[in-house]
């Protein structure tokens, strides 16, 4: 089974996580919302599949390039 990492695209903090482990998602679904540069920036699913491990929690500071969660395709 292929795994796709959901990688953080920008420095900021995790404001909301909108899915939980085991949820089925489609490519481009909103998985979480980050707060950065005073904006609410969505994290979109890079691929369709099932959410595996979620590696961050709401309120966490995150950096560009950091893995946020894993999608099992």
């Amino acid at each position: 089974m292929a795994q796709t990492k959901v990688v953080c695209e920008i420095n900021g903090s995790v404001w909301k996580i909108q899915i939980k482990e085991g949820d089925a998602v489609s490519e481009d679904d909103t998985l979480a919302i980050l707060e950065s540069m005073k904006m609410e920036i969505p994290v979109l699913a890079p691929a369709s599949g099932t959410i595996g491990k979620i590696l961050v929690a709401e309120g966490d500071s995150v950096a560009e390039g950091q893995d946020l969660m894993v999608i099992n395709e």
Binding site: E9, I10, N11, S36, M37, K38, M39, E40, I41, P42, L44, E64, G65
Partner: protein
């Protein structure tokens, strides 16, 4: 009688050449679900428009003459949507379409005719690279790759490449010299194959990781469109060509305006968020401004905080450079900078007016950007913008901050600067400015005062009063305003043909 014999020989030689690498190899390819080099020509070109050049060419080496019909690269001329084009279709079943002395002559001829006669050049790529043993040793050096303008690109006419299999050597080089590159999933493009690379660096390399579609669509940015099948790749080339003139000395073709293109302005207000901290997908707004269903996005998976699309307004081609707040809040990273510059160069070279749609908090600053030469990329972009001679219109939708204000056509960098009443102009966020001026939060009192002073009025009216925005418009009137203004600015060169000062700029950045 003598004539009959000669004509029979012609027919027999023709049949042999058309058989390409033989039934077995062709059947194997069919079973894999891919078109062969001649089927690709059929799918690409208008019916019965093909005229071949070099059908009887073969390798110059006597021992493989019989095994090299067309010498592995099929060349000629045809038509797409009634307009002439020049094509090279690589026949992988013939010695892996490897580059040889004779097929190099063929490519050169097709390329020269395309340039002289003002036709797009289309390369259907799939090739293994330089032919062995032709290329080996000093003699190989002396007879292959001896064309000093083989890699000269000066954009007299548009070039498109399809990557439709293993692409190494010439398919890779022509892909990178092209204005438009489409890749079929499963194809690969790299300097050398995974096998050669593995042997050279003594490390197991997976070809897909080395040069597969994801790598090029998301990381290298060398590919403009990704498709699932050969047929879709050829359709994609036809679609791209529909926005382009046949050569640099004419305006792009005009089309009828599709029904339902007008009167959609109200929907813009429904998409545009009413608070500045909310984001939206700018593509939904572009779609309402340009002719219905006319938008063709390039590099959609690369540098996503800038969206580059060819489209039509009032039936005529435009190139749209738009910030997309949906990704990185619209902050422009290095990939987005490279993508914007390449797109500006392409549009200016082929007489396609530019529309900038602005909503950006500025360039994405940080260690990663500086390591990747962000300041140089920003200046490349500015230099390109300064050399553009096609009409440029900039529309400030929301934020326009920092140096990015100029890169997105602000100041005197466009022929017209329009703004919506939602425009928000500034240099940097007030709290950031206050931190800088007060010594990074060390003195809270000083910081608070600074922040207050710096939160100056960033509304659009200051820009309009000083006539830096030429006008402020109701978002619902955007399309109609753009139709009128492009009509006015297209007049400058009479025929809508620019000066192409960027025509010799690189095809990749």
């Amino acid at each position: 009688m003598a004539h009959d014999e000669m004509i029979a020989e012609l027919a027999q030689r023709k049949e042999k050449a058309l058989a390409m690498g033989g039934p077995e190899k062709l059947a194997k390819r069919k079973a894999e679900g891919h078109l062969n080099a001649r089927e690709r020509l059929e799918a690409l070109l208008d019916k019965d428009s093909w005229i071949e050049s070099g059908l009887f060419a073969t390798s110059h080496r006597p021992e493989v003459r019989d095994k090299t019909p067309g010498d592995g690269k099929i060349g000629g001329f045809g038509k797409v949507a009634g307009r002439p084009v020049a094509v090279v279709s690589n026949d992988f079943t013939t010695m892996g379409a490897s580059s040889s002395v004779v097929n190099g002559k063929k490519i050169r001829h097709i390329r020269e005719v395309a340039t002289r006669s003002g036709m797009p050049l289309i390369m259907l790529g799939e090739s293994t690279g330089a032919r062995m043993p032709d290329r080996m040793g000093a003699e190989g050096r002396a007879i292959l790759g001896q064309d000093p303008i083989e890699y000269l690109r000066s954009r007299e006419s548009p070039w498109a490449s399809a990557l439709l299999g293993a692409c190494y050597g010439s398919s890779t080089w022509y892909g990178c010299l092209s204005d438009f590159v489409v890749m079929r999933k499963g194809a690969t493009m790299a300097v050398a194959s995974g096998r050669v690379t593995s042997a050279a660096i003594r490390q197991e390399i997976d070809s897909e990781e080395l040069g597969g579609w994801k790598m090029h669509a998301e990381h290298s940015g060398l590919v403009d469109a990704i498709v699932d099948t050969d047929e879709e790749a050829l359709l994609s080339i036809k679609k791209w060509l529909s926005y382009l003139p046949s050569h640099q000395n004419e305006a792009p073709p005009a089309y009828d305006v599709p029904e339902g293109s007008q009167g959609r302005g109200q929907q813009i207000l429904e998409i545009l968020p009413d608070t500045p901290n909310k984001v939206y997908d700018v593509r939904k707004i572009i779609d309402l401004v340009v002719d219905k269903d006319s938008r063709f996005e390039l590099k959609p998976r690369y540098g996503k905080s800038i969206c580059t699309s060819l489209a039509r307004i009032d039936g005529k081609s435009v190139g749209v450079v738009a910030n997309n707040p949906m990704f990185k809040g619209g902050a422009i990273d290095v990939d987005a900078m490279k993508k914007a510059t390449a797109f500006i160069v392409q549009c200016d070279s082929f007489n396609i007016p530019l529309l900038f749609m602005v909503d950006t908090p500025g360039f994405l600053i940080g260690l990663e950007g500086e390591r990747r030469a962000a300041p140089g990329k920003i200046m490349n972009w500015m230099n390109a913008l300064s050399l553009v001679t096609v009409p440029k219109i900039s529309l400030i939708m929301r934020k326009s901050y920092g140096q990015a204000y100029l890169n997105m056509g602000g100041g005197r960098n466009s022929d017209e600067v329009l703004a919506w009443p939602t425009a928000d102009l500034g240099f940097m966020a007030a709290n950031v400015g206050a931190s800088v001026l007060s010594g990074v939060d060390k003195d809270p009192e000083k910081y608070a005062k600074m922040a207050k002073d710096l939160s100056r009025d960033t509304a659009v009216w200051g820009l309009a009063q000083l006539y830096e925005a030429h006008t402020v418009i109701d978002p619902r009137d955007t399309r109609e305003t753009l139709i009128r203004l492009f009509e006015i600015h297209r007049n400058r060169h009479g025929s809508g043909v620019g000066k192409h000062r960027l025509a010799v700029w690189p095809t990749t950045y």
